[in-house]
Subunit: 185 residues, 2 copies
């Protein structure tokens, strides 16, 4: 796993991939699927995400203030849906879905070996949690798994259908106002 | 333009398309490009987005509390980038980029005829604007432009490159826990 600066989180998240989120509470890890998230700030990198009391992961996130946002490739589509359709309350999802946990660098929740990237986060602001279940997360570390062959990400259309990344359009030469964001991941 | 319920905003936004945002202040409309946005709540539909004081549209949004989130198809890629790389302070972007404005149903800022969908919004909560430039928007109306041939959306990788929607994966039959979200747009 190759580490890249946390400040490059926007390169991974702005495009809106469906993601997995790991938490760990008293040694017990869990993983959920998440589609409601966004970049909030480039530098220092902040991410917003909705995780609610209806999610088993909510209690662990509130308690520990840590999570890992893992980005699955298109090869994990079925697992991504199935993880989002069962609960950590009665299932060890890592075991059930044959996901390999790896120690993270900056936080206790595990990274996922089968994902393309793992973004380690801590809760920076929980002022909007009671009203909107909206956490503001600070990115603490990012690792990239260069060994994954399938690097296309999934975009959830909200109903169980997903768009897989297709062709890339390169318009970097037109980004005259935002040149500072032209860095390689 | 076909109207659909505002509650279907998640079908358009969860997948993370790059979007345009129109505002109007004292009769003068403007349009910007936005990549930092998310669904916050299905019903009633709430959207979070980052529009900051560095954006010319910020003042109009704060003043009027209204905007339209327009979703461009992949055919508009170059315009999307160019709109994000000049300012409404010195440019009439509708004229410069040959965008056709249409009256919106519920708000004063215009919809954009060349876009696939227009999501009309009002500011529901500005408590996080000072700290994060984060607006919470309520969706008031949505129109779909069925006449656009190009319906694939663009996903910004943060640096001026974009992924165009590719193949669709249909896993609706695995969404056993979220059946209520299986509705057609």
């Amino acid at each position: 796993m190759r580490e890249i600066p946390g400040g490059k989180a926007y390169r991974l998240l702005e495009a809106g991939p469906i993601v997995l989120v790991t938490t760990a509470d008293r040694g017990r890890a869990n993983v959920m699927t998440m589609g409601f998230h966004m970049m909030i700030q480039h530098d220092p990198p902040l991410v917003g995400c909705v995780i609610g009391p209806w999610d088993h992961s909510f209690a662990a996130l509130r308690e520990t203030g840590e999570c890992v946002i893992s980005i699955p490739g298109a090869d994990l589509a079925s697992k991504v849906v199935d993880i989002g359709n069962c609960s950590g309350a009665d299932t060890d999802k890592f075991e059930r879905f044959h996901l390999t946990t790896l120690p993270s660098r900056a936080v206790k929740p595990p990274s996922i070996a089968e994902c393309v990237a793992n973004i380690e986060c801590t809760v920076a602001d929980d002022a909007m949690v009671d009203r909107y279940s909206l956490f503001i997360l600070a990115v603490k570390a990012i690792t990239i798994n260069d060994s994954r062959r399938e690097r296309r990400t999934l975009h959830h259309n909200g109903d169980g259908t997903f768009s897989i990344d297709g062709r890339t359009v390169d318009l970097r030469n037109r980004m005259v106002r935002w040149k500072q964001f032209q860095v390689d991941v």
